[in-house]
């Protein structure tokens, strides 16, 4: 193998590695994570879709929905601890700067980033096919109180979107 071939092969390998790394975290989280269903908060019906993805909004994106929220978390990486209620719904509990150890069965921690006004978890955009755009938009307008998102959360707190549930419809892409 001459030098040209070697360098070229290394560059192609680098591009393959980068491509493989893009979904790697989400694949791991989907494979090993624990399922959590989150209630979506109402979204602006006139700005539901941007391009080919739905912008999702959650109760846990609002820092004020956590009991111990204060300014010290702003701009920091945070772990949002959710608590499963008796009705099976996961609701915001408290915030932590580190991954909490020994969480009971009815609690789970999701890693996010406090961006001053909200907390982002990397599950805010749900990509949809072009053909389903109108149907999902209509469904979200009519059933926004029955719209949920199923995510998986792995042992490090990383979250991955799995499917969108609007009323009785399931959207899994």
């Amino acid at each position: 193998m001459n030098r040209h071939t070697l360098y070229f092969a290394l560059a192609v390998a680098a591009q393959f590695l980068i491509l493989a790394a893009v979904p790697a975290q989400k694949i791991y989280t989907r494979a090993t994570g624990r399922s959590v269903t989150l209630k979506m908060r109402p979204v602006d019906p006139y700005n539901v879709l941007s391009g080919y993805y739905v912008t999702l909004n959650y109760e846990i994106a609002n820092p004020d929905s956590f009991a111990n929220s204060d300014d010290s978390y702003k701009g920091e990486r945070v772990y949002a601890i959710l608590e499963r209620r008796a009705d099976g719904e996961w609701r915001p509990g408290s915030l932590s700067n580190s991954y909490p150890a020994n969480l009971p069965e009815n609690r789970i921690a999701i890693r996010g980033r406090h961006t001053y006004s909200r907390i982002e978890y990397g599950i805010e955009d749900f990509f949809i096919p072009e053909g389903k755009r109108a149907e999902i938009e209509e469904g979200l307008r009519k059933n926004h109180d029955r719209a949920r998102v199923e995510i998986k959360v792995d042992s490090k707190g990383d979250a991955a979107l799995v499917r969108l549930l609007i009323g009785n419809h399931v959207y899994d892409y």
Binding site: V12, L19, P23, I123, A160, Y173
Partner: protein, 438 residues
Amino acid sequence: MAPEYNRSVKFRAALKREIPAWTEQGILAEDRAARLRSLYELDDLGKESSRLLSAALFTLGSMMVGGGVISFVAAHWDEISRGPKVVLLFAALLVFHIAGYWLRYRSAWPRLGHALIFCGCLVFGANIGLLAQAYQVSGAWYGMFGVWALGSLAMAWAARSWITGLLVIVTSFTWFAGFAEDSHERLAIVYPPLLAAALLPLAWTIRSRALNTLTYFGLICSLPVLTLIRFDNVRYVLIAVAAGGFAAWAAGEFHRATGIRKEFGAPASNLGLATLASAAYLWSFHWAWRWSDNIDWNHLYWLIPAGFAVAIGVALLAKAWARMDESQRRSAAGVAAASLLLCLSPPLNRFGAWPTLAANAAALVIAAALIGKGIVEERRLAFWAGSLFVATLIVSRFFEYESSLLLKSAAFIVCGAVTMIVGVAYEKFLHRREATAQ
């Protein structure tokens, strides 16, 4: 200083047309004609133009074929499940690169191969977005451009591809602007030196003027972006622009004076000079200084890359200085003084009209340097650019400040007349020089 030959295709084509007539009339001996042909590489002219045309056609053609394939796949994308999608994305990338490699290194179609490798890098960028979509990966919008730039950089070096290098400038700059704006402005100061370290050696190795000049353009643009993001005082952007312009101009002068990669000299020097002249012109208006005097000391980190650019520029200029003749030194000293004036103008804002005067003085010095270069080196373009710059400055000042119509009329008449008289005198001077040389 090494003699500078006119290497333009236009001049060489004209020379190639004229030489047979000169030898036929006995003006030029055969052996001298042969030396001229060799010196200006006139026999390569046909090959060069066909190479350029074929490179442009192949790049355009392969981009259209690639776009067609991507559109075809996109039309059926929703019907394909996730596994086959991933296989398709990786296969498409591999096909472009393998075909590109084979054509570039193993066939008689290296330019087509180069074009396919470039298209492979475009496909690589599209694949990042499509994979993110397939696995619901969301995050900062600029992240995709960062990884695209990294993968393309590896390929630009491996395939020694100038056009892929240009893709790296575009994608990495997009990443940098987003990253810096997203509260990472302190970390983002590493971008200008990283861009220079990643691409200038590549441009040097493959002798690409386009890549060299556009890397400097990327550096010039990145410095004001850093200043604008968090620093409240907009007038300090002038320092960042002047620092970048000075560095590019000094690098160009270094190449020209030392003869090292001489072909890089004129484009880099002209880019730097154009940047300095544009900055001096914009800040020569008094309204450009109507900003508060407050300096946010917490956000002065942008001075680090700007200072680094100035230091590199000074070092390169010092190296070039020893190889310059007296007139070139005068011109270089003028441009360096104008850069210094521009950098010193923002802190002068506390002293009334001084910064406006300093910017105007810098603009005039740059114009004088251009006119001087036009006279000494007999370069028409430099002379006329300098003259036009002076005329623009005078006209702008008359429109900027309220003055009587009579005064305006007198000024315009004087300006126009002086331009014509000086122009005619310059053309006569050139003709006299040509006659003396003959």
